[in-house]
Symmetry: C2
Subunit: 373 residues, 2 copies
C-alpha cells in the first residue's frame, strides 16, 4: 500500500485536457472541476469597486488575510478568528497543514484514501513524506477500520476530503470523529479538506470543525462555491497549537494571498443570498440526473454523488486507463479523467465532471458508442 | 558568521508598523516598502474589464501563468518563455529557487550578505538550511572576495538582491558574474532578486539574466514597479535544468497565482508607457534629495541610494535598535526600520523608506529632534 516513489509530476488533468483540445472533433470536456456557471454578482461588483479604489488598497493586506474576509470566515465557520489563515486557495492551506505535520517530527507517513485527489500524494512526496493508501469501501465510505490498522507511530497525518472527489461520498461525522481518534492515538494530525462543503446533496454533511479538536486542521476555499478556481482564495482553520507555525510558513512562502481576489470574495460573502448557492446545487442535481439516466441506458455502472460534482462510471471491459480515455475522446467525443489517476481502487472507472451543460449529450454519446462497440 | 538559530519569525516590519499606528501622535511612517503612488492606469482598467468577463476567465489559468503575461515577461527579459514561472510575488519565486537549491543535495548553506532582507534567512531556516552572512563593503558593494572565502562544498546557494534593499547599492554586472563563478566552483546556485530593477538611478543596472548561465535564477515582480504589493504577481526565470522542478513545486504549493491580478498586470504591461516608470523615478529622486538634504542639516550619516527606495541613516550615539526606533516614533514622530533587523553590519543604522510624500517633513523632524537632544 506504500508508494513512496509516487512522482510529484504535473497531474494527469492537464495531459487529458490538452489531448481533448487537440482532438479533431467536437468533444464534451468533463475533465476538470472548473465550474462553468456564473460567479455571484457581488463577486464581480466587488472586484470592480476594488479596481477603482485608493492606491493604499493595492498594497499588502495583512499576511493572514484581509480583516473583513477573515472575520466573515470565522463567523461562518464559528471559530476564533485567530485560527484562520487566508491562503492562496485550499491548495496552499493543505500544503501548510501537511508541512506542519512533517515538522512535528512525529512520523513521516501520510495516510490517504484510495481513490484520492492526486495533489495529496504529490504534496506528501514533495515534503519528503511517505504515502499509504487505504482503499475505501465499495460504496465510497472511508474504511475506518482499515485506516486504524494502517496507522502507526510512523503516521504524521491522515488526510480526508469530504464531500469527496472523486467518489462523491459525504463522510459521516462519526467516521471523521473516529479517524480523529485514530490520528490522536498515533500522535498524528487529521486534515479534512472541505472544499466541496457547499455541494452537499444529502443535507447531512457536517464540518470536522464541529469536533472542536486541537489536532484537526480543516481547509476550504471559495474556488468551487463561488465558481472562481482562478482567484485562489482559500483558508485553513488551524488548532491554536499549529496556527503560529502555519502563519509563519504562509508568510515566508507567499507573504500573503492576492488582495483584489480577497476583496472581491469578501464583498461576495457579504452580499450573496443563499439562493445563489441553492440554484447552483439545483443545476448540478439536474445534470447528475440527466447524466446518470443516460448512463443507465448505456448499461454502465456509476456512482450517484452525495456531494461534489463528479460521477464515476464503469463500462464493462473498458477500464479507466489513459489510453481508454483517449479512445473515448477520439471516438465518442467525451473527455473524462482516467480512474487510475486517483489510485488503484477505482482504476476500472472513469470520472466525469459535471461542469458542463452538455452532460446529457455526453452520456448519450457514451451510450451510442458502447452500444455500437 | 553562521546563525542557524535565526528564527523564521514574523519579520519586525509588522511590529514597528503596529507600534507606529498605536502612537498617540502624528507619525510619518517610513517603515514598509509599500508604494504610496498610483498604479498604472491600465492596471485599473485591466482589472475592471476582467471583472466583467466570461465565467471561464475566472477559472484556473495555466499553472505557470497566463499565456500573454508569460510571453510579455519572456519578451521583456529576452529569455525563452519556457523558463518563466509566474508566481505569487517574488516571495514565492525566491522560495521555489531556494527549495530547489536544497533539493539538489549539494550543500545546505545559504550565503547571504549582511545587511540582508530578512525574508531570505527566514526562508533558508524554514527549508532546513544554514545561513552564513558576509558583510558588504563600507560603501554597500558586495564583498566578492569575502563571499569566495566563505563559500564551500556546503554552500547550496548564494542569494543577492540588486538594486539592494536596504543599502540602495546597484551591484555591478562584473561582481554578479564573479559570484556566479564562485557559486559554480562550489556546485552551488546563484539567486538574484531583481525586484527593484525599475528603480535604478544610475543607469548602469544590468540583469543577471545577461550572464546567460545555467546555474543562475533571477526573480522579480510587479509589486514595486506597478505599485501593487498586494496583487502578488511575480516570477522566476529558471535555468532549463531547474524549471521543471520549480513548476512542479509551484503547482503543488499554490496550483497557480491569482488570475485577476495576472490579467490586470498583463494589461498594464501592454499599455503602460515608459513615462509612467520615469515619473515614479523622478518623484523618488526628489524625495531622496529632500530627505538627505535635511539629514545633512541634522548632521547624520546617510546612504544615497543608487537604486530601490530606502535611505539608511546613522545618528551619533543612537544605534539602530528597536527601542531607539520606538523612541523616534514617540518623540520625533518618524518611524523607520531598525538596522539590526537586517543583520549586524548595519545595526548602527536606521532604514527609512521613501514611500511617503512627507519625507522632507520627516527629516526636518529628525533634525529638530537630534538638535535638541
Amino acid at each position: 500500500m506504500t508508494d513512496s516513489d509516487d512522482a510529484y509530476d504535473e497531474p494527469l488533468f492537464y495531459r487529458v485536457i490538452q489531448y481533448a483540445a487537440a482532438a479533431d472533433r467536437d468533444v464534451v470536456t468533463m475533465v476538470s472541476g472548473n465550474p462553468d456557471w456564473d460567479p455571484p454578482t457581488a463577486l464581480r461588483t466587488g472586484l470592480e469597486s476594488y479596481a477603482d479604489g485608493d492606491p493604499q488598497d493595492f498594497q499588502y493586506p495583512p499576511s493572514e488575510g484581509l480583516g473583513d474576509l477573515r472575520e466573515a470566515i470565522a463567523a461562518r465557520r464559528d471559530v476564533d478568528e485567530d485560527r484562520v489563515v487566508v491562503t492562496n486557495g485550499a491548495a496552499e492551506a493543505n500544503y501548510l497543514a501537511m508541512a506542519e505535520a512533517m515538522e512535528r517530527d512525529a512520523g513521516a507517513e501520510f495516510l490517504l484514501t484510495d481513490p484520492v485527489y492526486p495533489y495529496y500524494p504529490g504534496k506528501a512526496t514533495m515534503l519528503g513524506g511517505a504515502v499509504t493508501r487505504v482503499p475505501v469501501h465499495e460504496d465510497g465510505r472511508v474504511d475506518v477500520a482499515g485506516m486504524r490498522d494502517a496507522a502507526s507511530a510512523e503516521t504524521a497525518m491522515i488526510v480526508l476530503n469530504t464531500p469527496n472527489n472523486p467518489t462523491g461520498t459525504v463522510y459521516s461525522r462519526d467516521a471523521v470523529a473516529e479517524l480523529a481518534d485514530v490520528a490522536a492515538a498515533n500522535d498524528a494530525l487529521l486534515l479534512v479538506d472541505e472544499v466541496y462543503d457547499h455541494f452537499d446533496f444529502t443535507g447531512r454533511f457536517e464540518s470536522a470543525l464541529t469536533l472542536d479538536r486541537d489536532d484537526v486542521v480543516v481547509t476550504s476555499s471559495f474556488s468551487k462555491s463561488m465558481a472562481i478556481t482562478g482567484f485562489r482564495v482559500g483558508y485553513g482553520v488551524f488548532p491554536d497549537s499549529l496556527v503560529d507555525d502555519a502563519r509563519a510558513r504562509h508568510m515566508l512562502v507567499n507573504v500573503t494571498g492576492s488582495r483584489p481576489a480577497q476583496a472581491a470574495v469578501a464583498n461576495a460573502l457579504r452580499e450573496t443570498p443563499p439562493a445563489y448557492y441553492e440554484s447552483v446545487r439545483d443545476t448540478l442535481r439536474e445534470r447528475i440526473d440527466a447524466f446518470t439516466d443516460a448512463l443507465d441506458a448505456a448499461g454502465a455502472d456509476y456512482t450517484t454523488p452525495e456531494g461534489a460534482f463528479y460521477v464515476l462510471a464503469r463500462f464493462e471491459g473498458f477500464p479507466g486507463t489513459m489510453s481508454n480515455v483517449q479512445q473515448l475522446i477520439d471516438e465518442a467525443g467525451v473527455a473524462g479523467m482516467p480512474g487510475e489517476a486517483f489510485g488503484d481502487a477505482y482504476d476500472d472507472w472513469i470520472r466525469f465532471s459535471l461542469c458542463t451543460d452538455r452532460a446529457k449529450a455526453a452520456a448519450d454519446r457514451l451510450a451510442t458508442y458502447f452500444d455500437r462497440r
